[in-house]
Symmetry: C3
Subunit: 140 residues, 3 copies
């Protein structure tokens, strides 16, 4: 289990090095690694780690899944949650909380521009990310 | 294979207990479980099982991927499908039809607020969900 | 690694036969197959392969994630990328670049209407798709 601390309500965190080092230390030569957020208001996805693009991702989501429209989850008449985070749940639902990547030659398989990104949608928080490598080890 | 019956066109079904019991009975101690819908108008996702939030998920999708705009898939001039379910296919495409979760200590790894949810977008129907647990068993 | 050539900026490619033949030739009888695009402007998803519906998927994305609004990733003041492909990255982010399917009886498990589809969002390009089958083989 890895703890990831976030400082903003909406924040993108680059998990690539952490995943890569986990896979190398796991001893798995061929197999897969699963990266799972144990929450319902964050997400895991793959894309390019570029400051301008990260801004665009946040701006797109702010528009597509607005924070400030009416949601029952934010309404005391319907819900006992007082975090006003229905938008965070919806973004998590649309992006997904878990993904699997391939392992080959003892390393995670990622394209040149691919990074593993955790999206925080209801921070600041301490998030638990669980990593699991499965497959074939070789030793001699 | 598990059959899940739905009663409404749009319906959310909680599969968490079903997945948990399947994993426990599988004998897998460490590994992963895959939950796959075998359809193109339903989806599988993880989020919180709260009535107000489930309403918000349905309302968000009704707005983001409208049932009642023009689609070629619903137009007899272009398609021989008469179910008027292009929106159902699009929702399934955006949410995904399959996911994998980790297994540890013989149980599926889920965070405190996480439920495994099947989304029906073109019911009522009988849906086929295939579960598969893979990994390491221990016996003595 | 499989190379998939695309001819249009936005194009959908049916990978089902390719995945099916890979699984059959892998020798895996029970397990899973992972299908991963190694890029950040394409996606992998499951849905029905019908011409009218494929048109609807492209039209939906053209509307939901517009190519022609302002993005920092497309602005030379913020980004050194001159492909004007922020929309392609966002579509890839929302749909996902990788998925896993079950293998049973030596074949990939797909429902009657399910196809494995690669979405090109920034072609024409040569795309690298990596396939990996893991699981149990039987021989005699």
């Amino acid at each position: 289990m890895v703890k990831v601390h976030t400082d903003e309500r909406e924040e993108l965190c680059n998990l690539t090095s952490l995943v890569r080092e986990f896979v190398k230390s796991s001893g798995v030569r061929t197999g897969s690694v699963m990266i799972s957020s144990l929450h319902t208001t964050s997400a895991i996805f793959i894309n390019e780690w570029q400051e301008a693009l990260l801004h665009d991702v946040k701006a797109y989501l702010a528009n597509a899944i607005s924070k400030d429209v009416y949601y029952r989850h934010n309404d005391p008449a319907w819900s006992d949650c007082d975090r006003h985070n229905a938008d965070s749940h919806l973004r998590s639902t649309m992006l997904g909380i878990s993904l699997a990547l391939q392992i080959a030659d003892g390393d995670v398989v990622l394209g040149e521009w691919q990074s593993v990104i955790m999206a925080e949608f209801d921070g600041p928080r301490d998030r638990s990310i669980r990593l699991q490598a499965m497959g074939i080890a070789s030793e001699k």
